[in-house]
C-alpha cells in the first residue's frame, strides 16, 4: 500500500481561488507492481474479488441488474456491486457516455483506488455506436480513461458481460491490467482530452 504524497503539484486553474484550499493538488503516482510469485498471488486475489462500482452511466446499466439475480448470479465468480468508488475496483461504463456523464465518470474513476479496471460495455463505448455523430456524447472511451476490455454489441446480453468479466480476469491474472498506472503515466494526455470535451470544468484536475 502506498499513500500519495503532496508533490508534484497540479495548478487547478479552473477552480476559483477561494476554493483551492479545499481540494487536493497532487498528481496520480505510478506504483510499479512487484514482480514474481507474490504479484501473481495478489493478482489472483484481485481477479477473484471484483467489486463493481454501482454507477449505471448509460442505458447499458440495465444489463448489470440481471447479473445479480438467480439466472446469471455473478457472485459465483467473486463479483459483487459496491456503492462507493473508494471500495470498488471495476468500473463498467454502460453504453453511451454523454458529456455531462463523462465528467462524473472521470470523478468516479479518479476516486477509485488502484489497481482499478474499466470495462466498456456496448458499441457506444468503442466508437460511439448509434450516437457516433451525436452532439453531446463521446465516441471513444479510451481517449478519456484507460479501458481494459470492450464488449461490442447494442446491447450485449448479460452472457456477453460475463464473458467480458472472464476476459478481464484473464488480463488481471496475466498482469496486463495496469490501467491505473497507464493513467498516471499519460495523465497530461488524458486530462487534455477530457478538458477538450468538458467545458464547464469546475473541479480539481485530479479528484482523489
Amino acid at each position: 500500500m502506498k499513500t500519495k504524497t503532496d508533490k508534484p503539484v497540479l495548478p487547478n486553474l479552473d477552480l476559483p481561488a477561494s476554493d483551492k484550499g479545499y481540494f487536493c493538488d497532487a498528481r496520480p503516482e505510478v506504483v510499479e507492481p512487484v514482480k514474481g510469485i507474490w504479484e501473481n498471488f495478489l493478482n489472483w486475489g484481485r481477479a477473484n474479488s471484483l467489486w463493481i462500482l454501482g454507477f449505471g452511466t448509460g442505458c447499458g446499466a440495465i444489463e448489470l441488474r440481471p447479473l445479480m439475480t438467480s439466472r446469471y448470479d455473478m457472485y459465483r465468480f467473486g463479483v459483487q456491486p459496491r456503492p462507493t468508488p473508494r471500495q470498488s475496483g471495476l468500473f463498467i461504463i454502460g453504453g453511451y457516455a454523454s458529456v455531462k456523464t463523462l465528467k462524473r465518470i472521470v470523478r468516479s474513476y479518479e476516486q477509485m483506488q488502484g489497481p482499478k479496471f474499466v470495462l466498456g460495455l456496448g458499441s457506444c463505448t468503442v466508437n460511439g455506436g448509434m450516437y457516433w455523430d451525436s452532439y453531446n456524447t463521446i465516441n471513444r472511451l479510451d481517449q478519456y480513461i484507460p479501458v481494459d476490455v470492450y464488449i461490442a454489441g447494442c446491447m450485449p446480453r448479460p452472457e456477453a458481460l460475463l464473458a467480458g468479466i472472464k476476459a478481464l480476469k484473464q488480463r488481471i491474472l496475466d498482469g496486463e491490467a495496469e490501467g491505473a498506472n497507464d493513467y498516471a503515466r499519460n495523465f497530461d494526455w488524458y486530462k487534455a482530452n477530457q478538458k477538450k470535451i468538458i467545458t464547464d470544468w469546475n473541479m480539481p484536475d485530479y479528484n482523489w
Binding site: 484481485r46 471500495q87 491505473a180
Partner: protein, 327 residues
C-alpha cells in the same frame, strides 16, 4: 500458566475464531444465496476480499482519526473476544477472563462503535454521520433488553463472571439459561438480531438508502481491517451468547456429559478441547442461523420503527425475565 503462555494461548484462540468468523460469513452468504435461488459466492470469498483490499496499491487519508477509527473498531472486536472464556475448563481457550469480565465485555461491544463513529465522522462523507447516528440510536435501544437479560443472569447466579455463569449451566440442557430463564433469553435473542444488523435491523449499512453508511470512505487496508474485525466481533458475540444462554462449551464435559464419569476420565485433553471447540461451533452456527433466517424473511425497519420496537416488547420481556430471576 506464565504470562507468555497466556498470550500465546490467546493468540491461538483468536486465530481459530477469526477463521471461524470468516468461514461463518462465507457459508451464511451462500445460504442466503440459496434462499434467493442462486448458487452464491464461494465459502472462502471473505479471505479473497480481504487479500484484495490489503493488496490495493494506493490509499487516501482524511486525518488521524480516520486511521484510528478502524484501529479502535478492531481493538473493540479483539477486546470483546479476549475477555470471554471461549471454551470452559480449557486453559488454551480461557483467554483473559476474570471475575467481573461481563461488564468489560459489554463495554467493549460499545467501544468499537464509538471509535468507528469518530473515524467515520472525519471522512467527511455525508452518509457516514447519518449511518453513525442511526447506529448509535439503534444500539442504545437494543442495549436495554440485552442488559436486562444479562442482569437477570447475574442476579440468578449471583456473579458477574462469565466463567461462573457457564459453570452453573453445566450438567445437561435442563441447567441452561434457555430453560431456567426463557424470558431473559428471548429478550437477549431479539437484542442479538439488532446487534448482528441483518434485516429487519439493517439500518446502519442500509445499501439502498445510505450506501453504505459509516464505512463509505474506507478503502484498501483500512477496509481490510474493518472486515477482519467483523469476523472476530461476530465470533465474539456468538461465543458470548452461547456462554451466557446456551450452556457454553466445556472441554471436560460438553457433548460428553451423557457418558459415564469413567469414560470422561479416559478422554485425553486434546480430544476434550477439540470436542469443546466443535460444540461451540455447532451451537454458534445454529444461533447465527436464527439471525440469517429472520434476515432473509423480513424487509428493513425504518430507524424510528426499529428503536420503538426494541424499547417496547423486548424491554418488557427483559423486565419480566428480571422478575423471573428474583422469584
Amino acid at each position: 500458566m506464565t504470562i507468555l503462555g497466556q498470550i500465546g494461548a490467546a493468540a491461538f484462540s483468536v486465530f481459530i475464531f477469526i477463521n471461524y468468523g470468516f468461514l461463518l460469513a462465507g457459508s451464511m452468504a451462500r445460504i442466503r444465496a440459496r434462499v434467493q435461488g442462486r448458487i452464491g459466492q464461494p465459502v472462502y470469498q471473505p479471505y479473497i476480499d480481504i487479500l484484495k483490499n490489503n493488496a490495493r496499491r494506493t490509499a487516501v487519508h482524511h486525518g488521524v482519526m480516520f486511521f484510528l477509527g478502524p484501529v479502535f473498531r478492531l481493538a473493540g472486536g479483539l477486546g470483546t473476544f479476549l475477555f470471554i472464556p471461549a471454551i470452559l475448563n480449557s486453559p488454551l481457550f480461557a483467554n483473559f477472563s476474570f471475575s467481573g469480565d461481563i461488564l468489560l465485555v459489554m463495554y467493549f461491544i460499545f467501544f468499537g462503535q464509538l471509535g468507528m463513529a469518530l473515524g467515520a465522522g472525519q471522512s467527511g462523507h455525508p452518509y457516514s454521520p447519518i449511518g453513525v447516528s442511526r447506529g448509535l440510536a439503534q444500539m442504545s435501544a437494543f442495549e436495554m433488553p440485552f442488559i436486562l437479560s444479562v442482569l437477570a443472569l447475574a442476579i440468578k447466579h449471583n456473579s458477574l463472571s462469565i466463567t461462573a455463569i457457564v459453570q452453573a449451566q453445566q450438567g445437561g440442557i435442563a441447567n441452561w439459561s434457555m430453560i431456567t430463564n426463557p424470558l431473559a433469553v428471548i429478550a437477549a435473542i431479539i437484542a442479538f438480531l439488532g446487534m448482528s444488523m441483518h434485516n429487519p435491523f439493517s439500518v446502519v449499512i442500509a445499501p439502498q438508502e445510505i450506501p453504505i453508511g459509516p464505512p463509505t470512505e474506507y478503502h484498501s487496508g483500512l477496509l481490510g481491517m474493518l472486515q477482519t474485525n467483523r469476523s472476530i466481533f461476530n465470533a465474539a458475540k456468538l461465543v458470548l451468547y452461547v456462554n451466557l444462554f446456551f450452556g457454553g462449551a466445556s472441554a471436560t464435559e460438553g457433548v460428553l456429559y451423557a457418558l459415564s464419569a469413567s469414560v470422561l476420565h479416559a478422554v485425553p485433553v486434546w480430544l476434550g478441547v477439540t470436542l469443546g471447540v466443535v460444540t461451540m461451533v455447532i451451537k454458534t452456527f445454529l444461533l447465527y442461523f436464527i439471525t440469517v433466517f429472520v434476515g432473509v424473511s423480513f424487509p428493513r425497519f425504518r430507524t424510528d420503527q426499529s428503536i420503538r420496537f426494541f424499547l417496547f416488547v423486548p424491554t418488557l420481556i427483559g423486565l419480566a425475565g428480571l422478575f423471573l430471576a428474583r422469584l
